[in-house]
Amino acid sequence: MKGVINMLKYSLVELDDNLQILLKGDLDIDSTEIINDELIPKILSFNQVNLNFKHVPFVDSSGMGLLLTLFHAFAESDTRITISNVREDVFEIFELLQIPDILGEDIFI
């Protein structure tokens, strides 16, 4: 439900150079620390990272901003980040903000 606090959690699956991050919960203003303090350092050591959005029901503008910041941070590096399993209504929001154009359509797998 939209109003209820649904803190972002994640689980990791590491396979050689490939990191799978399964996100669970809302990507919103409260996700800031998790993204910046926990996930970004983790991503540093991998060449291929996928963010699985299967269990992300809601996003807010801060969350979108975090996502963009995340991608921009790794734009110059060797790490390739992809996003998968985005829910239909969440993807609608991505499209409204033209995020596929900003990040490149190929990041969505």
Partner: protein, 703 residues
Amino acid sequence: MEVKIMRSVISKGKNIMEAIELGLNVLGVEQNEVNIEVLHQEKKGFLKIGNKLATVKLSKIDTPNNTTASTDFMSLLNIIEDDEKAFEILPQFQESNQVIALSSPNKIIVNDEEKEEKKEAIAWVEEGKLFVQNTPTHYPVVSIDKGIEVKLNGVLTKELSLILSQNDTVEIYGVKEEKETKWSVSMDSNKLRVTLDVEPGYQLIRTIRDTKPSRQIRLVADKHKEPFNTLTYEQVIQAMGSLQVKYGFNHSEIMKAVETLKKGSFEIATGKESMNGQDGWFETMVKTHSEKTLIEDESGKINFREQRIINTVDAGSVIGVVHLPVAGRPGVTVTNEPLPAKQTNPVQLKLGTGVSLMGDKVVALESGRPTIEKRGRFVKVSLLQKLVIPGSVNLTSGNIRFNGDVTVMGSIEENMKVEAQGNIVVHQSITGAKVSAMNSIIAQQNVIGSELTAGQNNVFIAEMGFLLATMSEQIDKMIHVINQLMASSAFKSTDFPTIGLKPLIHILLERKFKNFIPITKNYLNNFKKGNHLILDEEWFEVSRTLERLFLTASKEITTLEEIIQLASNVRNLYESSQTPAESVSYINISSATNSQLYCSGNITILGKGCINTKIHSEGMLVIDKVLRGGEVYAKQGVQIQESGSENGTITIITVPRNQTIRINKAMEGTTLIIGNVRKVIDETTHFINARLNTTGEIVFDYL
């Protein structure tokens, strides 16, 4: 469907067998179905002369009624109908006296030779019935016109002519035709009118004309068309129901439509049109007095003209009244929905200095000169005070910026700036200074190396307006996208109270609205360059907000309301930029040298003249003495005493294509540009009235 029952036939052939075969073919039967009677054997003559053909008579065995004709020998006479088979046989009988009796119910060949009885063969129509009388040898012929049906002995015939005997049972009918009533109901796009189109049907009755008895008669039909209307009231109501019509029924029209016998259109339901209201308006209550200014009359002479100038008022006087808009009256569609009246617009009142709003009245707070600036719906009322500078405007006095009229008793010195909301009157000279007034500038002595601007700079405002339009559109779109996001099921707006909308705007500006930042920066830059020409606070307010919301990365919380307010302000500003100001501005100076003059009204130079000066007037330019060098433009025409010089100083005079340039003495170097057609004067010409003719050339009508 042809009903042809041939019962017997007489046929001839080279021999009997042939004759029988021929007869069988004609009858369409086998040998065992007929009785054969040999009438003649063949006779062979010498060398085929005197040959006689074999003749047989074949009669169908089961024929019930072998009519009298088959047993009679009748001579060949009239063949009424085209019958292929008859022609096949008949030529073979040309030499004989015998006749083929093709006993079909619709064809009998009559023998002329035997007239045994005095009784005549006749037929006639009486009261729509056919009567037939025949003799043993003669039968009447009846031809049938279109539209008449005939049943012969109970069978409908397709033939166009009949030979009838009195034993036949003949029924004749005039064919009836019926056309359906056509109708349709339609509603106009405004849902204010429902139209019923009706085309009544008709019944066409044919009566068969009576005829006098005669051997050959023709059955002729008299047509009688009777219109009838099958449309019912219930059908109409039902049709209207399916269109959801619930209001404005015109019952009398429906009745007329249901009863009409002529094609017509009927308005069976009418809605109520909305009535437009009245926009709000500002009523000026102050008196004006007339003042003389210089203007040119029809004959081309410079004359004084009366101009109304608003008087000064006392404190507490009513300057004007704001009238509220009168709302229109909504209408009703035929589907019983309200039809809103056109939106009425109120006056957008802006109060300047020295005035206050009491209810609907604008009142002066102190004594002074009221100024009312109107731009479309926008009305700005200010009370102008008068500032008198007893000496000159210089480093000692400092720059002057005053919300009223300014009178400088001395001069305005180099690098000084004087800006006034009202009029600026300078008693002495203006040198190397910038002077701008919302109304008028009057300089009684020389203007040298200075910039004078009177009236709002409409060109600048129009340019800015154009940029505003683009920004307004973009901001509206942004608000739309934000609303879409907020309505989206997966979007949370819970962080808005905490961080505001700036982060979201930031994302939008990154891609979706990536053009917005460059456009806004462009606008703000241009605005900074020219904003000394604008004294209206609204412009500055909008610029500040644009900068704050979109160009700075401040931490403050931006709300959606703020963005909506900005959108509204930008839109208003754009609209105000598009309507020209109604104020009358002018510049009246004695002379100008190396200066720039801009005015949204007339410019008049009555003293020594104008040298090397750039002039732009949205009204008329009148130079009483000399124009030498420089470039001048006047939207409503130019009148100059003397232009150019003996040395051929290039002096450019431009007017729009539909205006004229009048010069009493045009010397070498004078360049006239009307529209985009250019003409250079290479030798002194007097009294020219230059204009563009129909073929696009500059011609002189000499005064």
